[in-house]
C-alpha cells in the first residue's frame, strides 16, 4: 500500500503549515500570559485580540461577541447549559433535534435529568427540520432552540434563516452548532439570524483544542467554567494563545479559499456520489441531495457492514468513517440515520467519505475503482447475499 487517501475531513483536518508557522512564536519567545500587564503579556493580549477581530469579522459579529473556548464540545456545552441556567426564571424548555452531535445531545440529557423539558423535533428522510415544527414546539417556557447548521454524518444543511425568523418573533434564543460549516460555507450570524454559534478550529485546517462561541450581545448566559475574569467573565482560564492565533490564521485562509474550494469540492462530491450509485448496486445516498455540505458524500451500501467497509478501505489506503454500530462503541447504529427513518439493518451499512483541500479527482476515481469490489466481497461473504440481491 503506497497510497494514503484521507477522506475523513469531517472528523478532523490536517493543520496548514502556515497555521503552524503563525502559532510557533507563542509557544516559546512570545509566551506571555495575556492577562499580565507588562510588555510580554500585552503582546500576547494583542495577538488574542487581533485573532478575535478576524474571527468576528468572518462571521459578521462584533469582536466582543466572540468567546474563545477549547473547541466545539465546550462551545456547545457553554451555549446550552449557560443559557439554560441563566434563564431559569423564564422557563425550563429547550428545543433541539435528534440528529445533533453528542456535544449538544448530552448536555440536553444532563439538563433533562435535572428537570428541564427537552423537545426533539422530527426530521424528514433527508435529515431536514421543518421550521413549522419549531413554531409549534415553542411554548412560553422555551428558553433555547439548538439546531445544528449542517449535520456531521449526512451533511444536510438546516434552514436556519427560516427558523431564526420564528425564534426572533417569539423571543427565544437560537443556538447552532456550526462546527461542520464554519470556514466551509457562509456562516454570517446576522444572515443566519442565530444568537449563539459554535466553532471548532481543527475542522478548518486549524489546531485541535481551540474553538469559539459566538454570543450575540444581550444574550443571557452564565459561565460554565468559573475562575479568572478572562473573556469578559464568560470563560475562565488562561488563553490558549497559540491555538487562538492558529484559529485566526485558519479563518484568514478560509476567507481566501472558501468560495472556490466549496465549488471544487461540490463537483468532486457529486462525482463520488454518482459514481457510487452507478457502480454499486443498491447504494443509497443519505442526506439531502443538494442542500448539503460541499464535502460530504455519505451513503448506505446495503448488504455490507460499515466497519468491515472501513477496515477494507483502510487496507487500500483510504481513511473513511461509518455510522454503523461497530464503529460507535455501542451496539446501536447511528442515531442520525435512525432519526431519518432509515431501518437499523440498513443504517449498519453506512459509509461516510468527507473531502478536503488535498482531495483530487484522481483520489475520487481511485475510490470508485476499489470500493465496488470491496462491497462485492463483503456481500458475497454475507448470509443475506441472496436476500439483498432480491431487493434490487
Amino acid at each position: 500500500m503506497d497510497r494514503l487517501i484521507y477522506l475523513d475531513y469531517a472528523a478532523t483536518t490536517p493543520m496548514r503549515p502556515e497555521v503552524l508557522e503563525a502559532m510557533m512564536p507563542y509557544f516559546t519567545e512570545d509566551f506571555g500570559n495575556p492577562s499580565s500587564l507588562y510588555t510580554l503579556g500585552r503582546q500576547a493580549r494583542g495577538a488574542v485580540e487581533d485573532a478575535r477581530d478576524r474571527v468576528a469579522a468572518f462571521m459578521g459579529a462584533d469582536p466582543r461577541e466572540v468567546v474563545f473556548t477549547s473547541g466545539g464540545t465546550e462551545s456547545d456545552n457553554m451555549a446550552i447549559k449557560g443559557v439554560a441556567f441563566a434563564n431559569e426564571k423564564k422557563g425550563n424548555h429547550i428545543i433541539t433535534t435528534p440528529i445533533e452531535h453528542h456535544a449538544v445531545l448530552e448536555p440536553c440529557h444532563f439538563l433533562a435529568k435535572r428537570g428541564y423539558e427537552i423537545t426533539y423535533l422530527p426530521v424528514d428522510e433527508h435529515g431536514m427540520v421543518d421550521p413549522a415544527d419549531v413554531e409549534k414546539a415553542i411554548t412560553d417556557k422555551t428558553v433555547l432552540v439548538s439546531i445544528m447548521h449542517a449535520n456531521n454524518e449526512v451533511g444536510t444543511i438546516e434552514p436556519l434563516e427560516e427558523i431564526s425568523k420564528i425564534t426572533r418573533a417569539r423571543g427565544v434564543y437560537l443556538h447552532t452548532d456550526a462546527v461542520q460549516t464554519f470556514g466551509h460555507i457562509p456562516t454570517n450570524v446576522n444572515e443566519l439570524g442565530v444568537d449563539l454559534l459554535s466553532v471548532s478550529a481543527h475542522k478548518l485546517y486549524g489546531p485541535k483544542g481551540v474553538g469559539a462561541l459566538y454570543v450575540r450581545k444581550g444574550t443571557r448566559m452564565v459561565p460554565t467554567a468559573h475562575g479568572g475574569s478572562q473573556e469578559n467573565n464568560r470563560r475562565a482560564g488562561t488563553h490558549n494563545v497559540a491555538g487562538i492565533v492558529g484559529l485566526a490564521k485558519a479563518v484568514e485562509i478560509a476567507e481566501r479559499e472558501m468560495a472556490s474550494e466549496a465549488k471544487r469540492l461540490t463537483e468532486l462530491r457529486d462525482r463520488l456520489l454518482h459514481g457510487m450509485v452507478d457502480k454499486i448496486p443498491n447504494a443509497r445516498p443519505t442526506g439531502h441531495p443538494t442542500k448539503r455540505l460541499p464535502n460530504n458524500a455519505s451513503a448506505c451500501l446495503v448488504g455490507a457492514e460499515g466497519e468491515a467497509m472501513l477496515l477494507s478501505l483502510d487496507m487500500e489506503g483510504v481513511s473513511s468513517s461509518s455510522g454503523s454500530a461497530c464503529t460507535s462503541g455501542t451496539l446501536e447504529p447511528s442515531h442520525v440515520l435512525l432519526a431519518m427513518g432509515i431501518p437499523a439493518e440498513i443504517a449498519h451499512s453506512s459509509l461516510r467519505l468527507t473531502l478536503g483541500d488535498k482531495t483530487t479527482k484522481e483520489d475520487i476515481d481511485y475510490v470508485l475503482e476499489i470500493l465496488p469490489p470491496i462491497i462485492e466481497r463483503l456481500r458475497a461473504m454475507s448470509p443475506l447475499d441472496e436476500a439483498w440481491k432480491g431487493k434490487q
Binding site: E305, A308, L311, C326, L331, P343, H348, M381, S382, L384
Partner: protein, 121 residues
C-alpha cells in the same frame, strides 16, 4: 484496536461459504443488530469433517467466524461444542471489550449447527 491476528483473519478469512449437503446448519444474530452468521457443518464419525461460514458483520464478527472454523475442523463434536467465546478471543490474541459479543455469535452458531445435526440424526 484490533490485534494483527484479527486483521489477518479479516483480510484472509478461512472457510468462507457453505458446505455441500450440510449435516447441520446454525443461523444466529439478526440484521437489525448488525451481525448475522450462517455456519454449515459436515460430520463424519462424530467429528467435524468440514465447516464453512457466511457472516454479515464487522471486522471482529468476520474474524471470529473464520477462527471458529479453524478451531472446530477435525474436532470431535463434544469438543467442538465446548469452544467458548474466550477460546475464540484468545486464539485471535484478544478482542476489544465491546467486540466480545461477536465471539459469542460465532460460538453460538457452531453449537446451533451441532444441535441441528443431532436433532436430525
Amino acid at each position: 484496536m484490533y490485534s494483527e491476528k484479527v486483521m489477518e483473519h479479516f483480510r484472509n478469512p478461512r472457510n468462507v461459504g457453505e458446505v455441500e449437503n450440510p449435516d447441520g446448519v446454525g443461523e444466529v444474530g439478526n440484521p437489525t443488530c448488525g451481525d448475522m452468521m450462517r455456519i454449515t457443518i459436515k460430520v463424519k464419525d462424530d467429528k467435524i469433517e468440514d465447516v464453512k461460514f457466511k457472516t454479515l458483520g464487522c471486522g471482529a464478527a468476520i474474524a471470529t467466524s473464520s477462527m471458529i472454523t479453524e478451531l472446530a475442523i477435525g474436532k470431535p463434536l463434544e469438543d467442538a461444542e465446548k469452544i467458548s467465546r474466550q477460546d475464540i478471543a484468545d486464539a485471535l490474541d484478544g478482542l476489544p471489550a465491546q467486540k466480545m459479543h461477536c465471539s459469542v455469535l460465532a460460538a453460538d452458531g457452531l453449537r446451533e449447527a451441532i444441535a441441528d445435526y443431532r436433532s436430525k440424526k
